[in-house]
Subunit: 380 residues, 2 copies
């Protein structure tokens, strides 16, 4: 089986970009990844673009802007896992020996589409009666509190950690740390979740360049990071049995990824996980098996998930701190894995990191339909 | 390299389905393909869904409806090539040895979105000043007439042929043949193109089940049809130099497909091509090298492209006759290839067909951005 590596990464600053378009942001990220890979752009044989709201042939528009029109490109959509899915499909195209160098990127310009929080679709009857994303995660937070004695303060400390990490990341939307009190006093969104427990509306793009082992040798890419697994799963109801406080879909997807990578959760040195809400980080980390079920919030309070902790979670700032431009999110997670594994993460560098894991989870969490989950494992 | 086969096909009737949804149509096509493959649905390991206007996580909703939620699914979008792109990505996932049995389907419910013709996007400045799809193809028709002496009647005969073929296809939107006079007297849309030169607004879905050589043997699928190539390209301007009467993007994509399949256009026994307009069939067929450049309209007039002709084109009825529900179109083309190659095409059966080719072309044909083209070759 052909090995697959990341040989270049790039991303825009995440945040509000009122004067830019999604395509323009995508082009910036792609050009940065090409520069970082130190390759002739004509080496890129194919591309995958992940986005949710970009509209028809968005990826093609980015290729045209950067002078790469002509190569095969597939736009992919899997809700908040769209960017990670683009990476997975690029990884498969290389493993299929169809291509040796593949560009995978993701982008979104959410501020042109949503003034505030993302509004539910017209046909989303559950959301219409209150089961919006914050509503769902508020219920899951309550359940975790009930089952495991998690406290409101412990959840807030996740937001504190991620915003602190973000303040060390020049690409993050939020550049300032917040205190526990600021989280607890921020505006109530869906009890018990407050504003700082929720990821923001963001614009941004990120890109990675994937290459086969053959291409890595040919291009002399000395900083290549290996993709050991890129697993994808879809799923159904999780606001119900066995418990809405445990994420079965994340667990199953992680099992696929660990099996393919030939490692277990105990081998993971750090992770970027889909913390769309503070409680979401708990569900992800526990579903991935990185921390014992029910214990993650207490471990965060002890500093175990900090950048210099036992098993750092979301060193980039995560969605809570770095921002969450849907299609870009999964790609930006892998950008962070690569920068950490290369030792290029600056003030937020994790010591001795050899195995990084990226987790995305998108779509409707409540209905019987529409969830997608990805787990990508990268190794030095 | 792992060989890839189609072991099951299904599609809904194309047409106007006011009481159905895109997801419902998708589920019907998927269930028919599973039945046709004669496999336990639990054998399906992953899925790809092609659509343009379905909205977020559309493919996942179909999986949930047919009881397949849980497996990996990626939604793909490449404008009118979306369905063909779903097949290509499924083909790559098998070649990568990630999966052995993969479902690829496409769907669209255009009548809920457009009352009449598809309206241009808000940011499409060229269309706003008149360069709509019919406008572009009208210019290309005029150019073909100018360069090669093609006549208005010859173009009309393409519509006559395809609607006649459609009348032999129970899944086609149009079930009645039309006469040359009816085409020539139909409503003027964009001079010289008239209503019957244009593909209709359609709802529908189609599905195929792909399998590795290993799975074909294990499942004892005796009717398997091999996918010899699934090429994808993106492109730019074609309303300009060297000539808007020759389709460079189709030509380049076909070269990729022929090279991968190890055949040339002379080996193709029949083809399904993207005849969104009568002139479009000319541009596709000539770009694919199936008929000499400039001569196709005259060959059609001589009956060479008929079902019993030298090299039949669009035996299913094509987009002009069968209909054009964007995401479903490319998948339905492969459904037709498979039915023809199996000898199951009923009244429209082509004699001794061993190699079939399917061509899709989507996106903006005029701007510098946004075209996608696919060529899939299937062999018995």
């Amino acid at each position: 089986m052909e090995d697959v590596y990341v040989i270049g990464v790039g991303m825009t600053k995440f945040g509000k970009h009122p004067d830019r378009t999604a395509v323009d942001l995508g082009a910036e990220a792609v050009l940065e990844a090409i520069k970082d890979a130190e390759i002739d752009p004509r080496r890129i044989e194919a591309a995958y673009c992940g986005h949710v709201f970009g509209g028809m042939v968005t990826g093609q528009k980015v290729l045209a802007q950067v002078g790469l029109a002509g190569i095969p490109l597939t736009n992919v959509e899997n809700a908040c896992s769209s960017g990670a899915t683009a990476i997975r499909e690029g990884y498969l195209a290389i493993r299929a020996r169809e291509h040796d160098v593949v560009l995978a990127f993701g982008l979104e310009h959410l501020t042109t589409r949503f003034r505030g929080a993302l509004t539910p679709g017209e046909d989303d009857l559950e959301a219409a009666v209150g089961l919006t994303m914050p509503g769902i995660y508020a219920m899951r937070a309550r359940r975790h509190m009930e089952e495991f004695g998690t406290t409101r303060e412990e959840l807030a400390l996740i937001a504190v950690k991620n915003k602190r990490n973000a303040s060390l990341n020049p690409y993050a939307q939020f550049q300032n740390p917040v205190t526990l009190e600021e989280v607890l006093n921020s505006r109530l969104i869906a009890d018990p979740l407050r504003l700082y427990d929720c990821s923001p509306v963001s614009d941004g793009a990120a890109a990675v360049i994937l290459a086969s082992g053959w291409a890595v040798a040919k291009l002399s890419s000395r900083r290549a990071v290996r993709i050991a697994a890129a697993a994808l799963r879809t799923g159904t109801v999780e606001v119900g049995l066995p418990s809405m406080a445990f994420e079965e879909l994340t667990h199953r997807t992680a099992q696929d990824a660990y099996e393919r990578a030939g490692i277990g959760p105990e081998d993971v040195d750090f992770a970027e996980v889909h913390d769309c809400f503070s409680i979401a980080e708990v569900l992800r980390v526990e579903g991935l098996g990185l921390y014992p079920v029910g214990e993650y919030p207490k471990r965060v309070a002890r500093g175990e998930a900090d950048i210099n902790g036992r098993l750092p979670i979301n060193p980039s700032g995560g969605l809570l701190g770095k921002g969450h431009p849907l299609g870009a999110t999964g790609v930006a997670q892998v950008v962070e894995l690569v920068r950490q594994l290369r030792g290029e993460a600056g003030d937020r560098q994790i010591a001795r990191a050899k195995v990084g894991l990226a987790h995305c989870r998108g779509g409707k969490a409540a209905g019987i339909e529409g969830a997608a989950c990805t787990v990508i494992i990268a190794t030095r």
